[in-house]
């Protein structure tokens, strides 16, 4: 079977100005969102405590809150977690177990009073002190930045400086789009999200590598045509691979998103967004950057 007919020639590079404007607007919006509102930070980064509770029978959020009594403050967030009907809740407390003392003991006592012993289960407690949270936040941000720059250097080393630059800009775009989507979908940022962002950086650059590889090959074969023609040809020639590879990755990600459970879901969501964005950015962002750069250097030389 063939999804993409051979000899296809979509003039991708023609749309580059629209794409650049569109993407700049989106990226700018994400940056503004980051500064104005900021992402919702999970306990890994903000510090605090997360408790996952499972009840034998249906319990409402109000019941849980009232059972917690003084343990719950106005800042305590109680929300559904896991699959519908599983009666699982996630509590988010500002304080850590260090400050609260024997938190699990207190929780167990309070819940037993309301629901009775054996009617609930404390399935998970994660508590991170503010100092650790701050460190993880910085390290997380740095690791994403470092990975992006590293990819740029690798492509520079293997191909060309302008390709490296194009790749870095495309990656920044993918990371920003993913962060924006996570913020819109109200997902918390934690360590798994950083893992997802790093994977996006590592995976999304693959499309750029494949196209660069083809551009280099075509430039040797075709000497008369403009760089724009060669880039466009290369994108078209590799289009089928780009779509199929991303497609199989998306298939497994959908499986993970639907079946992987509450911890994996945000991770799969981030990767889905990032991979889609990766295909787009390679075609519409990385290539124009290469072209722009080339035109300028050519103009200077003349």
């Amino acid at each position: 079977m063939e999804l993409i007919k051979p000899g296809i020639n979509i003039p991708f590079t023609k749309y580059r100005y629209i794409a650049v404007v569109l993407s700049s607007v989106v990226n700018l919006a994400v940056i503004i969102m980051l500064f104005v509102k900021g992402p919702i930070l999970g306990v890994d980064f903000a510090g605090g405590t997360v408790v996952q509770l499972k009840f034998q029978q249906r319990a409402s959020i109000e019941q849980v809150r009232s059972a917690l009594g003084s343990l719950a403050t106005t800042e305590t967030v109680i929300q559904d977690f896991g699959d519908p009907g599983s009666n699982e809740y996630l509590l988010r407390l500002e304080k850590t177990s260090v400050e609260l003392g024997s938190l699990s003991e207190q929780l167990r006592e309070a819940l037993t009073k309301q629901f009775g012993a054996g009617q609930f289960e404390i399935r998970r407690i994660e508590s991170v002190g503010p100092k650790v949270g701050r460190e993880l936040r910085q390290q997380g941000a740095w690791s994403v930045v470092a990975a992006t720059i590293m990819m740029g250097f690798y492509i520079w080393f293997r191909f060309d400086l302008r390709f490296g630059l194009g790749a870095v800009i495309a990656l920044v775009h993918d990371v920003l789009v993913t962060i924006g989507a996570l913020m819109l979908a109200q997902y918390e940022f934690d360590l798994t999200i950083v893992a997802a962002l790093l994977t996006i950086v590592g995976f999304s650059v693959n499309d750029t590598v494949i196209i660069c590889d083809r551009v280099r090959e075509n430039m040797r074969k075709i000497r008369r045509e403009s760089l724009e023609y060669v880039i466009n040809l290369s994108i078209n020639e590799t289009l089928s691979r780009t779509i199929i590879t991303t497609g199989t990755a998306i298939l497994v990600l959908i499986a993970l998103y639907v079946l992987g459970g509450g911890v994996i879901r945000p991770f799969a969501f981030a990767l889905l967004v990032g991979f889609f964005s990766g295909v787009y950015s390679t075609i519409f962002i990385a290539s124009p950057v290469i072209l722009l750069w080339d035109k300028r250097t050519v103009a200077k030389k003349k």
């Binding site: 399935r123 994977t199 993970l256 990767l271």
Partner: protein
């Protein structure tokens, strides 16, 4: 040609056999006992998020340890001055690690001589000032000494905690340093994390101090204790109804003896009228010291203080030989047992604080495994179906390669005893979706070469050759980000990075090397006139 194919096939076959051997302990729970004596391999190690357990990061308050050390040095210095009969000298700890010494100018050289010879770790923080017949010295610890003390405090804490955990009884705990002052502790499959935390986190500094019966307790609380004295409160035990025993005591600040002389600590079950108690057995020098202390303080009260709480303050009736003492404090039996553990294992050189805690119950772990396996099965099935649908024969080949990739990946995880976590499972699923990329690249290339009019045989040849550099490059980039992730990540995330990186390696082996062997085989038997792609 044929021979080369045979060699490659043999290598591949051996790899499969070895992988199966490594994986059997994971998937066949009741292997006969002779198996383990013949073949290597343990089951794949599950992370705490899959088998349940506690992950703790403790922060050792090293500054406190350094202050304690400084305080000891101060007392040492005062003693030495007294021994050398240098009078009129005052020694104060100004702040943290700064000592201020004021001595008559006439004795300045002798004082300097003393700390130059006997206190080599101290350096002068500021030049000596001599004002109005008195010399003032400011001494502090050198940078090297500070670093050594910090390291020592963390290492010593780690050893002590390891002892405590060993005695508490946890199978396969992980205890290691993390960063400058952190200690990472992983306790798999633990049932009562709260209790484990209490045992691990207790400083357990045991001190014997004399009670000052002449001082008025209420006065001392209201106006502050007299010099050389301190006010400490009693301990409220859990046993015997846990009567809140918050009695205040005025004690002499100087500890006559500390817990370092303890050789063993045993639990004595509760008697009729009192709770359980812990009997201390002191070593030889401890026994001598204890005898000396008790004989010179008959009829006085000796307080047994643990972490700043008075557990009991019995009157010394007579000289106590034999090196035995007991701590009572209306304990229940569990409390007494935990106390005996921490006393046997020794005190922490500095207090510790729990900086991070992640505890997962066993039921959530098995749920996560179920979800992970489910998404794995569904994800892989989707990919396999798609590849056959899209590439026919070449798709089947890619799928076979994919299955072997998973076999190798799991076998390497088992062989390296890498930890498999929930994100790790997600990594396996994800890498399965990405693993076919190499085959897609090769197949697309072969299709192009076929369209360009090449014969199948040379199209395959050219397809592999042209696709290879791109395959290597794409894997290197993803591998690099995996390495960065491994550097940064903790626990579960590290598991993801590990499966990602190993998976990329096995992908190259199966998707490139293995499929190549298959095509070479067909070429060698002269049957590559047509290919299904």
């Amino acid at each position: 040609m044929r021979k080369a194919v045979l060699t490659r096939f043999t290598i591949f076959f051996i790899a499969v056999i070895v992988s199966v051997i490594y994986l059997l302990p994971t998937f066949v729970p009741n292997l006969p006992s002779w198996w383990h004596s013949v073949f290597p391999g343990e089951p794949i190690r599950l992370g705490l998020d899959l088998q349940g357990g506690s992950h703790l990061v403790l922060d050792v308050k090293v500054d406190k340890a350094i202050e304690n050390n400084m305080e000891r040095m101060k007392l040492d210095l005062i003693n030495q001055l007294r021994e050398k009969a240098i009078g009129g000298v005052t020694v104060d700890r100004v702040e943290g690690t700064l000592l201020h010494i004021k001595a008559p100018a006439a004795d300045a050289d002798r004082v300097r001589g003393l700390f130059k010879s006997d206190f080599a770790s101290l350096i002068e923080a500021k030049p000596t000032q001599t004002v109005g017949g008195a010399s003032e010295f400011y001494l502090t610890l050198s940078k090297e000494e500070l670093r050594a003390l910090r390291d020592y405090a963390v290492d010593q804490s780690l050893e002590t905690i390891r002892n405590r955990i060993d005695q508490f009884g946890v199978s396969e705990p992980v205890i290691q340093r993390q960063g400058q002052t952190g200690i990472l502790i992983q306790l798999p499959g633990i049932q009562d994390p709260q209790r484990a935390k209490e045992i691990i986190g207790k400083t357990a500094l045991l001190e014997f101090k004399l009670v000052d019966d002449n001082a008025n307790v209420d006065d001392a609380i209201k106006n502050g204790p007299p010099p050389g004295r301190e006010v400490l409160y009693g301990h409220a035990g859990k046993g015997l109804g846990g009567a809140a025993d918050k009695q205040a005591y005025v004690l002499e600040s100087r500890a006559l003896m500390t817990g370092e002389y303890i050789q063993d600590a045993k639990v004595r079950p509760a008697q009729q009228m009192e709770g359980a108690s812990v009997e201390l057995i002191l070593n030889a020098s401890g026994a001598r010291l204890f005898e000396q202390i008790t004989s010179s303080n008959v009829k006085r009260r000796l307080a047994i203080v643990l972490d700043g709480r008075v557990y009991s303050a019995p009157v010394i009736q007579e000289r106590i030989g034999g090196g035995r003492a007991s701590i009572t404090g209306s304990f229940d039996i569990k409390e007494a047992r935990d106390l005996s553990i921490v006393l046997r294992a020794g005190a922490l050189p500095a207090p510790v604080e729990i900086a991070e805690e992640r505890t997962v119950g066993p039921s959530l772990g098995s749920d996560s495994i179920r979800q992970g396996v489910m998404s794995f099965v569904v994800g892989i099935t989707l990919v396999i179906a798609f590849m056959i649908f899209y590439y026919r024969g070449a798709g089947v080949l890619a799928d076979v390669a994919l299955v072997f990739h998973i076999l190798f990946l799991l076998a390497i995880l088992a062989a390296l005893q890498a930890v498999l976590t929930l994100p790790g499972i997600a990594g396996i699923v994800l890498i399965a979706g990405m693993a076919v990329d190499a085959n897609v690249l090769i197949n697309e290339r072969i299709r192009e070469e076929l369209r360009a009019g090449r014969a199948p045989r040379s199209a395959v040849q050219a397809g592999f050759e042209h696709a290879l550099p791109a395959i290597i490059d794409t894997n290197v980039t993803t591998f690099l980000s995996g390495v960065i992730l491994f550097q940064f990540g903790t626990g579960p995330i590290k598991g993801f990075a590990v499966t990602l990186c190993i998976g990329l390696l096995t992908t190259i082996i199966t998707a490139v090397y293995m499929t190549r062997v298959y095509y070479d085989y067909r070429v060698s038997v002269g049957k590559l006139a047509r290919i299904s792609i």
